[in-house]
Amino acid sequence: MEATLQDQAQTQDESALAERFRAGDRNAFDEIVTLHRRAVYTIARRLLRHHEDADEAAQMAFLRAWNARFRFRGDAQLKTWLTRIVLNVSKSMLSSRRSAEALPDESAWADSSQTDPDDRIDRVRSRGDLRRAVGRLPNRQQEVVMLKVYEGRTYREVAEILELSEGAVKAHLHQAVSNLRRRLSGGRRMEKA
């Protein structure tokens, strides 16, 4: 009950904030940036891997949001709308790069809780294989994996962000899992051979 009331209050707050933002209130925009900047940066960083690129994409995304504030209809959450914008900005930046440059910065994956160097190397290597396999998925499947698997968004949220049906999101996720299973197992067999 308390949680429901809190949710309602939050929704009302966000609606009021969104309304001020649409009316061109710079303070409201500033509040929105402060509320969502970490989430926006995280998505950009996950896709682009490097801080400088993620910084650029996150700032561009907020600028685009400000310039397009009249088009924010309010039927989606601000977070959903901003996620859609930063995804598009990051994808544009990615497409202007070579695929090799889009490969992940694996040093960031080293799990410091693992004390055995061999374990750490294996871990980093496995995650590197997985990351590369994800990077070779079709675009839509990559987006679904990023939002569903790594960001932990609900099917509904992913559907809203990508402007798909929930059924289509589930189908893309299933197809991505199937592709990853085959690619990762195929790679392992080749290594053994």
Partner: protein
């Protein structure tokens, strides 16, 4: 015993919306068993372990230090201001003549009706030429608009269709930017809404100019 198809289905479920923790543990055990014994799926063991983690731990993103966030909002604001300035100056430089003509035509046309009586009384000469803008006497039309007060011009702008209707709210139409001598406003002096409307309108003008005539 799980087969490869049900392995994929169960793994997809694990990445899906949260399920009952007990069921999740049982499913995980089945998935691990299958990955350990199936040659077709052994490479997916890493995927199973990924599914066992909460989303926030699956691919943690290294966040920049707090000092970065302290300057983040200001950085956006600065970029926004610079960009608006650059765009405004660039676009206005390209389209200033076209926009001036449109303002002159529209303003002159609208002003004509109600400026006439005033001008007839005090200054009959300019009215005569202003009432015939299609003769090409731009200087006379210019003169009529120059003589209009800021309020009169604001009222005329209010009567314009579409995007121009919003311009009366800005400093442009209220004479705060020395309208008497300047036909075209400095976009930097317009408020944000009016500037966007002006830019959109100029974009439309640009597109219509580029569109090949049929």
């Amino acid at each position: 015993m799980m087969d490869c198809a049900s392995f994929e289905n169960a793994l997809t479920e694990m990445f899906g919306d949260p399920v009952d923790p007990t069921l999740q543990r049982e499913t995980l055990a089945d998935l691990r068993d299958h990955a350990a014994t199936c040659a077709e799926c052994e490479g997916a063991a890493e995927l199973v372990e990924l599914a066992a983690l909460p989303p926030t731990e699956r691919d943690p993103v290294e966040m920049p230090p707090e000092s970065y966030w302290e300057g983040f909002n200001a950085s956006i604001a600065n970029r926004g201001a610079l960009r608006a300035e650059g765009q405004s100056r660039g676009v206005l430089r390209r389209y200033a003549p076209a926009a001036a003509v449109v303002v002159a035509l529209s303003g002159g046309w609208l002003l004509r009706g109600w400026v006439d009586p005033l001008v007839h009384e005090a200054q009959p000469q300019p009215v005569e030429t202003a009432s015939q803008p299609d003769t090409g006497s731009w200087s006379s039309l210019d003169e009529v608009i120059r003589q209009a007060t800021a309020e009169e011009l604001a009222a005329a702008l209010r009567g314009l269709p579409g995007e121009w209707a919003g311009l009366e709210a800005s400093g442009w139409a209220t004479g705060e930017n020395g309208l008497g001598g300047e036909w075209l406003p400095d976009a930097l002096e317009l408020n944000e809404n009016d500037r966007i409307e002006l830019m959109d309108w100029l974009d439309q003008l640009d597109q219509s100019e580029r569109r090949p005539s049929s």
